[in-house]
Point group: C2
Chain length 337, copies 2
């Protein structure tokens, strides 16, 4: 299709292209009558400003890039939806890319987005991230950027985080109060801030109750990670009284393995997860899980980004910590014997 350009509209009305341009960007002086006339004619002709040309000259795209490790599970999609709501409302378009938990893909994705002149980025890192230096340079030199959930301490940028410390502490406390003492925490990648904070919460809960028979295993987030770790514990005969996993998938993987080996949940082992996956309510027994405010995380990140884009000068990299809830279910409740 040969598209209609500003030139065609100008010719049709015998005005200059700048006048037409002005009609579409009403920040300039223009006679309201001519503007209306132009807008009407333009609509009639089916003219729409070419966003590509606009990007080239304005050096901004009204596009926001979002990079997430994956969107197979519902956590990131939910966050994205929250962000999208805010951004679309403000006239931005959202480009979503996923890194497939690969540091290399993540880097390529981000660069693609930067090359395509996104006005800002919202990023959640993949588990083993090796792009710190690149992100540092991005942050320092130029482009507005907000990190959420998975991030690294070294990066000084606005961040929207979950209060992992607090909710890990609560969850651990819940297990302790139920009477479980030998608890193992299955943690995520050790470099991630969230991993460190959850471990801190886990430890502090024990400290609070003057317990020290706990253990931390860096298992990873996936269901397979949970399965493998559980199997190892069984083989080594080191099955604890309770497990607090850093993701529901890991928790579910562990739960299934224990069940397969004849352990009963929560009678033999109690299990808690993190992030409230769709499954947790529906599996058997239902899984106790920490619920994060996914929607709000997305909205907050988007707002922080917009603020940064539109107020370029005086912005201070702030970190916002959000709260959630602990959904207690059968998997972690001590049975009355």
């Amino acid at each position: 299709m040969k598209s209609i350009t500003i030139k065609d509209v100008a010719k049709a009305l015998n005005v200059s292209i700048s006048t037409v341009s002005r009609a579409f960007n009403d920040k300039y002086d223009i006679n309201p009558n001519t503007r209306d006339l132009i807008l009407k004619k333009a609509k009639e002709m089916g003219y729409q400003p070419n966003p590509i040309a606009r990007k080239l000259i304005q050096k901004r795209s009204y596009n926001i890039g979002i990079v997430v490790p994956e969107f197979i599970h519902s956590f990131f999609p939910k966050v994205i939806i929250g962000a999208q709501e805010v951004l679309i409302e403000k006239g931005y378009q959202v480009l979503i890319m996923q890194s497939h938990e690969s540091s290399i893909t993540e880097l390529r994705n981000t660069k693609t987005l930067v090359n395509n002149m996104v006005d800002g980025l919202i990023i959640s890192l993949c588990a083993e991230d090796k792009n710190v230096e690149y992100y540092k340079s991005l942050v320092s030199t130029e482009i507005p950027i907000v990190f959420f959930n998975r991030t690294l301490e070294e990066i000084e940028a606005p961040k929207v985080l979950f209060d992992d410390y607090k909710w890990a502490l609560f969850t651990t406390e819940h297990l302790i109060r139920q009477g479980y003492t030998r608890i193992i925490h299955l943690a995520g990648d050790m470099n991630l801030t969230l991993t460190k904070n959850r471990i801190k919460g886990f430890k502090d809960a024990h400290r609070k109750y003057k317990l020290d028979d706990f253990k931390i295993i860096y298992s990873g987030f996936s269901m397979t990670d949970g399965e493998v770790t559980a199997k190892t514990l069984i083989d080594k005969k080191k099955v604890p009284q309770a497990i607090f996993a850093s993701s529901d998938y890991c928790a579910i993987g562990a739960m299934k393995t224990f069940k397969n080996f004849g352990y009963s949940i929560p009678k033999d082992i109690a299990i808690c997860g993190f992030s409230e996956s769709d499954m947790s309510r529906h599996i058997s027994p239902p899984l106790t899980s920490v619920e994060q405010p996914t929607h709000l995380i997305g909205q907050t990140a988007a707002n922080l980004l917009i603020e940064q884009i539109e107020n370029k000068k005086a912005f201070i990299p702030q970190t916002i910590k959000l709260n959630g809830s602990l959904n207690i279910r059968e998997s972690s409740v001590k049975l009355n014997l």
Copy 2:
């Protein structure tokens, strides 16, 4: 950031910008030596061609738009991943938008993408679609487009579909062979092609076994839909021997409701779902479900689109039907009494 342009590289090497451009698009005559020199220097300076400028002059964006009803559940994300693989490989970038099961949002999304000069579209419609006329005009006038899974018969465009008829027939047959006779099919939106085909399969299976005590209810795809329908059946005392739902979520919703009301699965009612959600393996009892080749669907749609983009002239709107498998699990297996 002031980005480095082709001009800077040209100046640094005392060559013309056309030479630099040629070095980056090796279809033109250029001395291999100068090319290597330029490429080396460019890399050293951190120069990267500006894709926006490129798009402007080439009149194509190398962007592909994908519009799906939702990406909370894993089905569409998996398809998208398949498509993305192919597209990225071919140098395309993928923009993903979701319509939230709203016909209006879907229309807006599609128009946004068209305005942004996507070279092609991959679309799966929302349940109650009202944009047929728009899609017809898109197809006839201009832009390469491929529909997948959820589509309408009236739209004449390349389509990648699942062989819904065949697999609905198989599933129903499986239930019949297990000895269940009074079966209800919980169908999706009645206008969708897939709904029609699944119903046809469901009916033909009965015909094959000379049975006619079946029923179809247009319940919808969601978990709530399943819950509501099950509740109604219970209230009206019309609980069947088996249910074949058109989505796992619907099946799971129904299953939970039946369980809550004291029915045992599959003893009192057998249940089958569709599309193999993450949950089906993990709930209790595990849910029998038809598995679609999500990845392949995405890849096929992408390939079909690329073919259409690059061979504009002689393309025939073909429909590709893909096969899957029936994952039989406890929820539909007749117990030996």
